[in-house]
Structure formats: structure tokens, C-alpha cells
């Protein structure tokens, strides 16, 4: 008897396993708002031009009403000693990587949200507080957020930051591509202020073309790779550099979208609710059969 039940149980769990693993190749469904607009905007960051003046950091803070030191203090280059990351108090930071040869310049890299085309945060957010907007921005809705920080776990670039020290209404903070500015036809604050025009704002498609054009014009100046063109399914922010991106502490990422596998599993398990319902029916059937057999046995006794 015990043997019998065990076999049944094993069968059930085997079926379950098959149900979970077998349905992993469903196309990823996106919410209507998250369908990519072909005119979505982006920024091409040419790190070979950047001088590390950090005006973008100042402009960003000013545009987002974050507390900031006076502009003059941004000339202080000692901040480059340590690698910095965007956090809840500064949504973008510039880092410096020392020159490789004495006659070349140090490389400055601005870091902020990459505004992925297939954002992990949008996929992950339990309440859908993140959205990929038509103009390319990935923005956060403070009215929805419950502060679970799953977006931070999901983000392959480690960008969203959380106000850990706040007891009430802590926010998830990250670059919003100046959504409030672009909505009224202004440029993102960092793009507007950049003296060197390291940051070129334009249609993402045009920027990809421009990036490749630049590489073909100056093959000796650029490392032949446009970071963000394909990484994690493409990002709105694209980077050019004079050397391998891994030397500049860009994460090594594949070309498949970050949320791809988890969404495939998720939609596999919940394909039109068929697997859960099937499991329910199966268990119901097993229960009914066992009960009947039991009562039959008892009657025989």
C-alpha cells in the first residue's frame, strides 16, 4: 500500500516537474505600454571625449531637486580615487580610469540607468511601478511602489537605489532620463549641460548608426564595440570607448534580455492558467480515486 502511494506520488511530482520545465519556450508577453517605440530616444556616450568635469552630476541633482554642493566643488578631481556608483542621493556619477599610456588621457565614464529596451526592473516589479515609456525612458511610479527592492535584485547594472534610512515613504531612486523635462521638449539635464557633448541625445536607431560611423572613421581611436547595442537585449544609453569595456568596469553581459528566462518560466507555469488548473484536476482525481478505493476496501472488510 505504501509502495503504491509512493509510486503515485512520484508520478505526480514527475508530472509537475515536466510541467514546469517543458513550457519554457513561450514568447514573452509585454504589457502594451512596454512595446518598444521605434522612435524611442537614447543617448550615445562617447567616453573618449569626456573630461570628467562632472557638470552632469551637478545638473542632474539640480534638475531632480536633490541637495548638492556648489558647482565649483565639482572641479575637485580627488573623488575619482574611489570608484563610485549612483545611489539615492546622486542618480549619475562619473568615474575615472587611469590612462594606459603616458600620452593618452584617463578615461572618464558616466554611469546612470541604461534604460534597457527589455528592462529587468519593469518585468520584476511586483506592482508594475516601473514602465518603459514610448520615448525610451524607464521610469518609476512612486504611488505604486511598495519598497520590496526586487528591482534592485533584478537589475543587471545594479542601478536602482533605495532610501534605506527613511522609515516612511522611502523611494527607489534612479535616473529617469529626465522624463519630466523631455515631456515638455527639454533635453535631459546632463545632455544639456555637457560642455564636450560627450552625450549625444537622439533617436536610438540614429545613435547606433552614428556610433558605428564614428568607429569606422577613427578605428584607431575606438574599441570596436558599441556597448548597449545588444547587451541584455539593447539599452537606450549606448557607450563608445577607447578600450575594452570590461577594463572600464562595465558588466559582462550576454545579449539575451535580462528578464527573458524568468518571464519564460513564469508564463510557462501560468500559460493561460492551464498548468495550475490541470494540476488541480489531477490532484482532485487522485484524491477521489483514493477515497473510493479506500471506502471500497473498507466495505470489503
Amino acid at each position: 500500500m505504501a509502495n503504491q502511494s509512493r509510486r503515485d506520488f512520484l508520478k505526480t511530482s514527475a508530472l509537475l516537474g515536466a510541467g514546469i520545465t517543458g513550457l519554457t519556450s513561450k514568447p514573452v508577453k509585454a504589457a502594451p505600454k512596454n512595446i518598444l517605440d521605434e522612435n524611442r530616444m537614447g543617448v550615445l556616450v562617447d567616453t573618449t571625449v569626456c573630461i570628467g568635469c562632472r557638470k552632469c552630476e551637478w545638473a542632474c541633482k539640480t534638475a531632480h531637486n536633490l541637495p548638492t554642493q556648489p558647482l565649483e566643488s565639482y572641479d575637485d578631481r580627488s573623488v575619482f580615487i574611489n570608484m563610485r556608483r549612483p545611489d539615492d542621493k546622486s542618480l549619475t556619477v562619473v568615474n575615472e580610469y587611469p590612462a594606459q599610456e603616458s600620452n593618452s588621457f584617463p578615461v572618464n565614464v558616466k554611469v546612470q540607468c541604461m534604460h534597457c529596451d527589455k528592462p529587468a526592473c519593469v518585468s520584476a516589479c511586483i506592482v508594475g511601478a516601473f514602465s518603459k515609456e514610448e520615448n525610451g525612458s524607464v521610469i518609476w511610479d512612486g504611488d505604486k511602489c511598495i519598497g520590496c527592492r526586487y528591482c534592485m535584485v533584478a537589475c543587471p547594472f545594479q542601478v536602482p537605489a533605495f532610501e534605506f534610512e527613511k522609515a516612511l515613504q522611502p523611494e527607489i531612486r534612479k535616473c529617469d532620463f529626465c522624463f519630466e523635462r523631455t515631456k515638455i521638449g527639454k533635453l535631459p539635464a546632463c545632455v544639456e549641460i555637457c560642455p564636450m557633448e560627450v552625450l549625444t541625445y537622439g533617436r536610438r536607431e540614429d545613435l547606433v548608426e552614428l556610433a558605428h560611423h564614428k568607429i569606422s572613421l577613427y578605428p584607431e581611436k575606438y574599441y570596436n564595440h558599441v556597448f548597449g547595442e545588444y547587451e541584455v537585449g539593447g539599452t537606450s544609453w549606448l557607450y563608445l570607448a577607447s578600450r575594452d569595456f570590461s577594463e572600464l568596469q562595465f558588466p559582462k553581459l550576454g545579449n539575451s534580455p535580462a528578464p527573458g528566462v524568468s518571464e519564460a518560466i513564469q508564463h510557462g507555469i501560468f500559460a493561460y492558467f492551464i498548468p495550475p488548473i490541470a494540476l488541480y484536476a489531477l490532484l482532485g482525481g487522485v484524491m477521489w480515486l483514493n477515497k473510493n478505493r479506500k471506502s471500497g476496501e473498507e466495505e470489503q472488510l
Binding site: M83, I126, Y150, A161, K294
Partner: protein
Amino acid sequence: MSENMKPVPLPRKYFTPTVIILCLIALVGIIFISARLLFGIGAVTNLSNQYPWGIWIGIDVAAGVALAAGGFTTAALGHIMHKEEYHLITRPALLTATLGYTFVASSVALDLGRYYYIWHPLIMWNGNSVLFEVGMCVMIYLMVLYIEFLPIITERFIGRVNLPGFLGKFNNQIDKLLRVLDKGLNKTMFVFIIAGVVLSCLHQSSLGTLMVIAGQKMHPLWQTPILPLLFLLSAVSVGFPMVIFESVITSKSFGLKPETNILSGLGRMVAPLLFIYLSFKIGDMVIRKTFVYLTEFNTASVMFVIEIVLGIVLPLRLFMSPSIRRSPLGLSIAAFLVIFGVFLNRMNNFIVAYTPPYQFTSYFPSIGEISVTAGFIALEVLLFRAFVMIFPIVSIPQPGTSKTKFSVRGV
């Protein structure tokens, strides 16, 4: 055998030295909980932008959910497979699961930056989010668990409703209500039992999917697309050991004779389940060729080896031995190892394996975090003891009584 076994409240002296220590641990936990509520997550935890999730998610939630798997596995065994001999362990398992999930939910709430918005997922849906699915499943399953628990309450109070003071005049109505409830539940309970098993399978596995989106931030020894399957298999494997362990402890604590026969019956089922879990885990490692990471000596590889050897292989061997299965001590040691293995697996998946691409400091839980986790566990044990004393949970031999209506019914 079950003919003369009947779940009854076990009136004992509540405070023992152990209970007092547990009370103190719980008190410290509560102090830190209030600190978190007053001053924010950052004031109490070591969480940062690099490590957004700590032990409150890795242990309280992930391991908590896994270790509460006894509820659905015994429900599946006792009611769906209809093994009546196991009915008498379903109630303690159900209580563990109910308390466990209640504390999982509390831990989640505590970990949320905006705990007062915990109801948001009910109306703000994101079907792509694994967390949304886990959240919804856990929420519904918690409701199901409460419903499954209701018959125990009705059983306790039908005919014994005795409210104090002026409320006394409602005694009759409440008694009637309880009887109606009891009758209705008796007929529909199977719906909830099956739902409970289905929901458990769903969220136990989805808990694994949760970390899939972290992609390369997770150590390759653990990061695999079959994480949901591994989580489900390990949850199923840990269900019975959890029941065994808890039953042995309860018996010991209340001075009862351990139900060795039933427990060793449960123990017989553990080995094959562990074997399946182990083979999937090893198979996954071989297919993805992640064994190369075992040649490195670091926290990840050591933890992985401990998880496999102490948490799966050793208990597998122990559970295969009939002599160990027959002794309560052997059973509890073997069961403890499985629990330890799954506990470690959850902690590894959520904490050890998580390596942020930009790492400035490494994460180790703060005193506050540990205190809160320990406090929750202590509270759970304390409540378990209180419930066992108030409600008919644990079955004890009844001298020569026949099967009554309320013997071991429903769940």
C-alpha cells in the same frame, strides 16, 4: 492504531526555562522590529544598494516557506493519497505551516520599505513579475491555511462557547455560527486541500524563479533555469523531515511517546524524494558544467559542498537505513540534516550566491537582522506551544474510545 488516537489540547505549565529564554529572544526581536518601524530599514539592517535583500528574505521568507512545506506534503499524503494512518500528523503540520506562513508574511511586511502598501499587489498586477506570483500565491495560500485551520477552532469551541460578562448572551448565536461553519467546511474542505497543494507547488517553485532574473549576479553553481524545479523538489523533500523533527521535539517537550511507527513510515518516503532532488541538482551541475567552480576554494564552493554533502547525501544515506528510521534519535538527526540542507540552500540561493557586479563591502547580517529573525522563530515556537495547549492539535492515545465525529477529521 488511529482508532484510539485523538487530538486533544494538552494543558501543561506554559513557562519552562526554555520558554522563558525563547520569550527573551522574542522580546529582543520585537525591540528591533519597533526600531525598524521607527527609524527605517537602514537603521537596523546591513542592507545596501549592493545587497538589497538580506536574511529577512533569504531565511525568514525563502527558508521559512520551504520549511513550512510540511503542511502541503502531509496534506497531499494524508488527504489526497488518503493515507489515514498519517492523519494524526496533519494537524501539527498544518499548525506549523499556518504559523510559518504567518511569520513569512510578517517578515515580508517588515522587509518592505512601504509595509503599509502591502495590499498594493492585490489591485496593481504585473503578470510578468515572479514576485507578484509568489506574493499572490502566498497570500491566497495563507487564507487557505486559515480556512483549513478553522475546523480545529470549531472543534475546540462547539458546545463550549463561554464569553465573559455581557457578551455571554451571544454564546448561543456564536455556537450556532460555528456549527454552520463546521458543517459547511466539512463538505467543502477538499476544495481547499487541493487548492493548498496546488498553490504550494506554484509558489514553492516560483520562489526559485525569483532569483533567475538576477542572472549573472548569482553564482553559477546556483543560477540555473531549473531553479523552480529544484526549489519544488527540495520543498517536497523537506516537508516530511520537518514533520518528523517537529513531532519528535513536541513529544519530548510535552513528555509524550514519539509516534515512531508513523514517523518511520514518513521517513521511508524521504530517501527517494531526496534522491530525485539530488539527481536533478547533480545533473544540472553536470549539464551546465558548473563543477569547474568547485575547484576554486571560496565561500561559494564550500557552501555548495556543505549543502550537498551534509544536507542531501548524508541524510539520504541515513534515511535509507531501516535501523535509523526506527529510532527517534536517528530519525530526528536525519530529519534535521535535511532541514539544515534546505535551509542552507535557500540562504545560499538568496544570499551567498548573490554577488553584486559592483561590490564595495560584503554582506553579513547585522545584529538587528539576526535578532529579528531569531525573534520570529522564537515567537513561532512559543505560539506553537500555546496553540498545542489550547487547541486539539497533537493526538494522544485515548483509552478505549471509539471513533467520534471529531476524532481526526477535515484537517
